[in-house]
Amino acid sequence: MPDAEVVVIGSGICGALAARRLALAGADVLVLEAGGPIERGQVVAAFRDSPRKSDWLAPYPYHPWAPHPLYLPEENNYLVQAGPDPWPVQYLRGVGGTSWHWAAQAWRLLPSDLRLASLYGVGVDWPLSYEELDPWYQEAEELMGVAGAEDTGSPRSQPFPMAPVAEPWAMRRIRERLAPLYAVTANTAARNSRSYGGRPACCGNNSCQPICPIDAQYHGGLAIRSALDAGARLQSHAVVHRLEADAGGRIRAAHYLTPDGQPRQVSGQVFIVAANGVESPKLLLMSGLANRSGQVGRNLMDHLSTALTFEADEPLWLGRGPQSPSAINSRRDGEFRREHAAYRLDFTNISRVDSVTNDLLEKGVYGPAFEQQLRRRVAHEMGVRNVLEVLPDPANRIVLSGRTDALGLPTPQVHYRIDDYVRRGAQAAQQDFALIAERMGGQRLRYSAAGKFSANHHITGTLAMGDDPARSVCDRYGRAHDHDNLYLCGTAVMPTSGTMNATLTAVALALRSAEQIRPMPAARA
């Protein structure tokens, strides 16, 4: 008898919701998680006590036996940067995974995002259509409690579970002043605009990242709890380092280490690797499995951003309401994608108090001038950034480094180069930045450093799906081409990145994989 019918490696939002669905369908499911528990109340307290309020990793527990990349106050060099461009990605290893500290942006892709090669001659096509994804998007949105507006460009056959979250005053003024040049729309977010799923409506804590103190936004901690409620089992502190295949290529066991290095293993009939876009390929590379195509770890994508900050000519007071409420979607698609990256333009509503304080202290502003400048800038400053599509490039990849962690396991190494397609997209967005600043009466414009991009931590492509086993890692259901009882879940299976946060698409695909593994009886659907 195997230890479990389905073994899920990774308790993040994708693995957890796949586990939940499989448990509800009657499967015996065991979830293995490398890290330890994460508790909301402790994270809130740690955030308030943190000396680095803008470091969203800081309030979270760090598990030395299951490290994740850290950059402050000192780099831990877990993720080795092989260049030529840096990619300082952030993620969490712990029960519930990285979506503990996400912005809850739960966008669907555009239909064209799945047909880039056919439509524009760049990137690749997906092995499935947007229409096939639609019901899975809907199921994911209902599970996660997604609130959104209808005018995002992503078709849907059923309404959103919730109306958009109330628009902050600042976003209203931006919307009014940019019309009709730009249509500013409410962001699609897994954030409650009313009581939903036993959780309250947002009350504007403005700390969506790193933590919503009241669970008004959905996250992986809620997802794994729902999986356990459905009957799945969880083994935390289990660092899976090798999958073992039998002579026929079927996966028979997952080998893991406890924090003190004791070896353990679990057997199963089906295995799901859902350990995120860096750790999942790392595990497959350590195992020497699922890589007949040579594509494991390749085609790494993350949305990249440049930004503009300026002072509007009216007080906006960012920081009232949720952090990331509004965007411009008109640059997400068009013939220009043959030439340069598509992008979304995102307006921040993050309180400026901490960042302006840092800047004034850096400049040595003391005395009465400090309060005067703080109030003026906090009231008037606003920011817009692009969220740029990145194309799949096999040279951008995760490999095993020559370093080892506390358990003696290899750490990941990233090879990353930002191409001209992205740089041209950023150049196009500069014109939008300038127009937006002009319309808002902008003064003291501060563009992000030329040629520099910030990461968005939307790790896609490293286990991309496709119809051709020679050019992709898994099929349209996330099943590894090389192992018929191995499924891959998470943002890593996405062949292209589009311009939107990847989580909702990854959850939709994970639910679809779960249905493929064990269909939900009609009575429970």
């Binding site: 005053w169 804590n205 309180s351 003391y366 003026r376």
Partner: protein, 162 residues
């Protein structure tokens, strides 16, 4: 009662440019370093008064990290008095001179304005919602992680003279 040293400093500073910013006497008798810290703090954050109860844990934390912290406060306050240095130009002057006290104003101001003492791996946050940067905008904003209000309360115009 202020100590003789502190009384001397206060008297001297009161005679100088910074008169308008100086707090009154709050420190425990005999603790000239702490008193200098409070006076310096008030100058840097632009207040006529800083709360000694809020200042005490900041001062103790600084002292725990660097034993000469009180003397550095005394030295900087004395320089400000003697040279009639304006808070608006203080940092520029100290930086230009490569003063050994150049890091002190920013450290002290940061402690009050963000509640953070120390830097890097030694940084500690001792205040958040009571830090002065939160207080300075407290009529409009709540510190992140504290509820702004009932659902949708952020949709209305903010009446502010900022």
């Amino acid at each position: 009662m202020p100590s003789p040293t502190r009384r001397l400093l206060l008297k001297a500073v009161l005679a100088g440019y910074a008169t308008a910013w100086l707090p009154t006497a709050w420190a425990a008798p005999g603790d000239a370093g702490q008193a200098a810290f409070l006076d310096l703090s008030a100058l840097l954050v632009g207040r006529s008064y800083v709360d000694p109860a809020q200042g005490k844990p900041l001062f103790e934390a600084f002292k725990a990290q660097a034993g000469d912290f009180p003397n550095r406060c005394l030295a900087l306050l004395a320089q400000i008095q003697a040279r009639q240095l304006d808070p608006a130009t203080l940092q520029r002057v100290l930086d230009a001179e490569a003063s050994p006290l150049a890091a002190l104003p920013r450290q002290v101001a940061r402690a009050w304005l963000q509640g953070v003492v120390g830097s890097g791996t030694k940084a500690r946050c001792l205040a958040y919602e009571t830090a002065l940067n939160a207080q300075m905008v407290g009529d409009v904003l709540r510190p992140p992680s504290y509820a702004y209000g009932a659902y949708g309360s952020w949709a209305s115009a903010e009446r502010s003279d900022a």
